[in-house]
């Protein structure tokens, strides 16, 4: 069943969000609060020999300049699985932009003026920014103690992929590359930290209040209950605020000066804080003459940056998501995260999926063209359907790719476009994706039933503009049998809102939604039993399995359920310039049961707009170890004038569970555009972004080949 979404009611906070009047962490001010600015390493790799802060300390308004050498005891370190990131560089600097000192002052201007006056003596060492080259035996080591730049390798073996590849009638062997990119949230990273005795409170722009709390507790050797994290509305994140980034810096500064300290990054600093994982994917696919895929071998190298962050588990998620939504009996995946002297990599909307979907969905159309089969038909021939076996060995159910495909085609068709101009070519492309969700994970909430018939929901799920709180409110209200305006959703405060893994991985509607429904059902039952308010209930949801439970061949239950999505586009190619214009686009996903049609449409459309950037324009450029474009003039984001006419579809199934919809159109956007370019003018691009210069070169090469 496909439901078409076209109405446009408002999102509850849209008005305040546009006006900038919605309370956010960037607005938090505490009495006696000071401001911190970070002094950053100019070198990609080096030994910090000395820091001269004499001039900085003399700037009026400066309260303190803090370096690793000024700390009592060891420098706190933080990270997810591996805590290898020092809050301030201690001797060794491992990327250009790494924090080496903090300046704390009465105002931001004094702090930044003083930060510019701090003199660093850095002995520059050889650096490596390319992950593939970091694997060379003679490459400089990012963490010499590890003896290798490999952070973690995951392998999946299902059937005998190499043997099946050797027997296949046709083998396609290609390399697809994605460069590092930046999330560019409108609200920069910002954190305010305050200590009272041995208790730390932090207000931060985060997607994961409890994860930040755990990380801070570990870094500062505190029991978790002595750390309290508050989050307000977040002004954009896209994954950049899933992991802990600047909170330890604010906490360290506040502890040092004994007053609350606020740290707000400027735009250039945001570019130097967290990146999308650059990836190089080699994909070999064995196919029968009739189009059936018999084997797939994927080797992916992820650029983790200078510190582990979440790259160990991320590479595992990448392994699981690599094969694509197809029924392939023999699959081998090797997924390796590699340290380099670059900004640490972390989650990026469509994480560890976009880079792979770019490879498998682009290659799919090359196979189709080579075999003379329609690209949609080739997908239909190979799609995973209920009862099929995924390369993790899981028997799949609740799969709806056929409906996604047909929905995409009819939605695209229904958009009117202007006729093609002379000198231009048009083509259409489609792409599908499969994404596991964070597994295992846990969501809990507290629901307070008041005597006046209202309800208060305490959740650590974060409102980022995606409408999470509206969705949770709607789910609670439906279960309680009351109007949604009877339910108030509070912003996260780890002292009041119980545990939640994170607001990411398109999990909130399903995971926290399940916890909220559990709480609401309990409340309803107690009310029905005659219990008198006020009282409170706790709702819980949890999943087991996941990465840690897979065997050494990557076999097991990888995901609670599987996210399914796709995109179809039509592009216009200016044959003289190579410039690509997406003229119409349709995005579809499987929602199981849609909570809010408009919010699903917003996610599908927003995902396509977001993904236009890395597909066509965005690339974080490194030269001599430095990012050359850490600003919004040289790093090009899509503008509204680049947004095509769009439509969205949500596939539902009777009795199905609710699925999140946050990322489903992000990974397929780039390959759909690449496939449309191929359909328009016969050229295949294998490196993002699809800059017109690359398109034009490919067109010229095609013409030269044809004339030979």
């Amino acid at each position: 069943m496909t439901s078409t979404l076209s109405e446009t009611p408002r999102t509850p906070d849209a008005h305040d969000r546009v006006l900038g009047t919605l309370p956010m962490a960037v607005h938090v001010r505490l009495p006696g609060m000071l401001h911190a600015t970070v002094v950053r390493s100019p070198a990609a790799h080096g030994q910090l020999r000395g820091i001269d802060a004499t001039a900085a300390r003399a700037v009026p308004g400066v309260v303190a300049v803090l370096t690793a050498a000024d700390l009592d005891g060891a420098v706190p370190v933080f990270g997810e699985a591996t805590a290898d990131q020092p809050v301030l560089a201690d001797g060794r600097v491992r990327y250009a932009g790494e924090p080496v000192a903090l300046v704390v002052a009465e105002d931001e201007f004094a702090a930044s003026e003083a930060a510019a006056a701090v003199e660093l003596d850095v002995q520059v060492l050889p650096h490596i920014t390319d992950a593939h080259r970091a694997l060379d035996p003679d490459a400089p080591l990012v963490h010499p103690a590890a003896g290798t730049n490999v952070l973690r390798t995951w392998t999946l073996r299902h059937g005998d992929a190499e043997a099946a590849l050797a027997r296949a009638e046709k083998v396609y062997d290609d390399v697809y590359e994605s460069p590092p990119a930046s999330h560019v949230p409108m609200e920069p990273h910002v954190a305010v930290a305050a200590w009272e005795d041995d208790e730390l409170q932090v207000w931060t722009s985060t997607q994961s209040p409890h994860a930040v709390r755990e990380t801070l507790a570990a870094a500062f050797a505190l029991p978790a209950e002595r750390v309290r994290v508050h989050a307000l509305n977040v002004g954009g994140a896209y994954g950049s605020k899933v992991v802990t980034t600047i909170e330890p810096l604010a906490a360290l500064a506040a502890r040092h000066v004994g007053r609350p300290v606020r740290l707000r990054l400027d735009r250039a600093e945001v570019f130097h804080t967290l990146s999308k994982h650059a990836a190089r994917v080699r994909i070999r696919t064995g196919v029968r003459g009739d189009g059936r895929i018999v084997a797939r071998v994927i080797d992916v190298v992820w650029n983790a940056g200078a510190y582990a962050t979440n790259s160990e588990s991320a590479a595992g998620y990448g392994m699981v998501r690599a094969p694509g939504p197809y029924d392939v009996p023999n699959v081998a995946v090797t997924s390796t995260a590699v340290y380099t002297h670059t900004v640490p990599s972390g989650p990026f909307r469509g994480a560890m999926t976009s880079q792979l979907c770019w490879a498998y969905e682009s290659q799919m159309d090359d196979i189709a063209a080579d075999l003379g089969i329609d690209p949609v038909r080739l997908r239909e021939l190979n799609l995973l359907r209920d009862g099929g076996v995924y390369p993790t060995g899981e028997v799949m159910h609740d799969l709806h790719y056929d409906e996604v495909l047909s929905g995409l085609q009819s939605e695209l068709e229904s958009i009117d476009v202007a006729p093609v101009q002379p000198g231009h070519a048009r083509g259409r492309g489609v792409a599908l994706m499969i994404k596991s969700t964070l597994t295992p994970s846990r969501s809990e909430c507290r629901l307070r039933v008041a005597a006046d018939g209202t309800y208060e929901l305490f959740t650590a799920s974060v409102e980022i503009g995606q409408g999470a709180h509206a969705t949770l409110r709607d789910l609670a209200a439906a279960e309680l049998g009351v109007a949604p305006d009877r339910v108030v959703v509070r912003h996260p405060d780890t002292a009041c809102a119980p545990y939640d893994s994170m607001t990411a991985s398109s999990r909130t509607t399903f995971a926290m939604g399940s916890a909220v429904r559990d709480a609401a059902r309990q409340a309803r039952r107690r009310l029905d039993d005659g219990k008198q308010p006020p009282f409170e209930v706790t709702g819980t949801w949890g999943s087991t399995g996941g990465l840690g439970s897979l065997d050494e061949h990557g076999q097991g239950t990888a995901s609670t359920h599987w996210h399914q999505g796709g995109v179809a586009v039509e592009v216009d190619v200016d044959l003289e310039t190579g410039r690509i214009t997406v003229v119409r686009a349709a995005g579809a996903c499987y929602t199981g049961r849609t909570v809010s049609p408009i919010r699903v449409a917003h996610q599908n459309e927003g995902g396509m707009i977001f993904a236009l950037g890395p597909a066509l324009f965005e690339e974080l450029v490194y030269r001599d170890g430095q990012i050359t474009n850490p600003n919004l003039s040289d790093y090009s984001l899509p503008s509204f004038r680049d947004v095509p006419r769009m439509r969205s579809a949500a596939v539902e199934a009777p009795g199905a569970d609710v699925h999140g919809a946050g990322e489903m159109t992000v990974p397929p956007m780039a390959p759909a555009i690449g496939n449309a370019i191929r359909a328009a003018c016969g050229v295949r691009l294998r490196r993002l972004p699809m800059h017109p210069e690359r398109v034009l070169r490919a067109i010229i090469e095609r013409d030269e080949e044809r004339s030979e």
Binding site: F109, A116, E576, T577, R579, G613, L616, F617, E619, V621, T628, N629, N631, S633, D634, S636, L637, P638, S639, R641, D642, H691, P692, E693, L696
Partner: protein
């Protein structure tokens, strides 16, 4: 603090005197879209800003068509220049260029004098003013002078303006009927990106269809807008045809030595110069024919 003081003189003369007195401690600011950004990024430092926001001189304000030229006050905002009926009717290429800078928020603050004085190699209005043979009306402590737009731009962010001189306005010659103008802006990335190439073309055609008047300036490919008089002289008298436009475009592509950045390599820009000089001349020709 970023700056210590902001002064707001009410006349160009007073502004010039202030700048003269302040010397290196003063910096003129109009809309602020460039200066404030540069100060915040520490590319520029000054203790006092001399704002032209309250300047009331008639020559600094307003747009009006005179007998032989269009007068544009330097304090006019880009959005207002772009929307002005006289600009749209008489010099549409200038309107297009002013409507292309940054985004609507920038254009609602930035002034045309500020844009030109910044001499940003990748901004849109400079190439058009050069192609239109505009005169820049400049005032300073030593009095007034006029500088042809083609002589104003000396290098990256560098102009022929002396310290304490400010741009009061522009005089743009009006074109006889049968002359068309065009500005073709090409962005290789997002539509609101700065241009990879911007081409301004002015084309006058005889009743017999021959080129009588031709000026082509290419922006965003080098430190200053580039015009090739010898190429233009060669084209004069030839038929206003796609073949001749292609010849001019090829000559520009061959003779200019473009820069190399994220918006396009030198190889790519050379090709884009050829394509867009051709397209700009074709567009100017269509307008000339009307």
């Amino acid at each position: 603090m970023i700056v210590d003081d902001i002064r707001q003189p009410t006349s160009l003369r007073a502004a010039g005197q202030l700048l003269d007195e302040l010397g290196d401690d003063g910096r003129v600011v109009a809309g602020g879209t460039a200066v404030i950004l540069m100060i915040r990024q520490r590319l520029l430092s000054t203790s006092t800003l001399v704002s032209l926001a309250r300047v009331t001189d008639a020559r600094y304000r307003g747009i009006d068509a005179r007998e032989a030229h269009l007068r544009i006050g330097g304090g006019e905002r880009l959005a207002d220049v772009a929307a002005h009926p006289a600009v749209r009717r008489l010099l549409p290429a200038l309107g297009t260029a002013c409507a292309s800078v940054g985004n609507v928020r920038i254009r609602n603050r930035a002034t045309i004098a500020g844009n030109v004085a910044e001499a940003d190699y990748s901004s849109d209005p400079p190439a058009v003013l050069v192609a239109l043979d505009a005169q820049v009306d400049v005032t300073g402590p030593d009095g007034d002078r006029r500088i042809p737009a083609s002589e104003l731009f000396l290098g990256y962010y560098e102009t022929a303006l002396q310290d304490s001189e400010v741009i009061a306005g522009f005089e743009v010659p009006l074109l006889p009927s049968g002359v068309g103008t065009a500005y073709v802006r090409y962005t290789s990335r997002a539509s609101e990106d700065r241009p990879c190439v911007g081409v301004a073309a002015v084309l006058g055609v005889t009743p017999g269809g021959r080129i009588e008047h031709i000026r082509v300036a290419v922006g965003a490919v080098a430190d200053t807008p580039r015009m090739l008089p010898a190429v233009l002289a060669d084209a004069t008298g030839r038929p206003a045809s796609p073949e001749v436009f292609a010849d001019v475009a090829n000559a520009y592509a061959q003779q200019l030595d473009p820069l190399d950045d994220e918006r396009g390599s030198a190889w790519y820009r050379t090709r884009m110069i050829e394509v867009h000089v051709r397209r700009a001349l074709a567009e100017a020709h269509r307008r000339a024919a009307r």
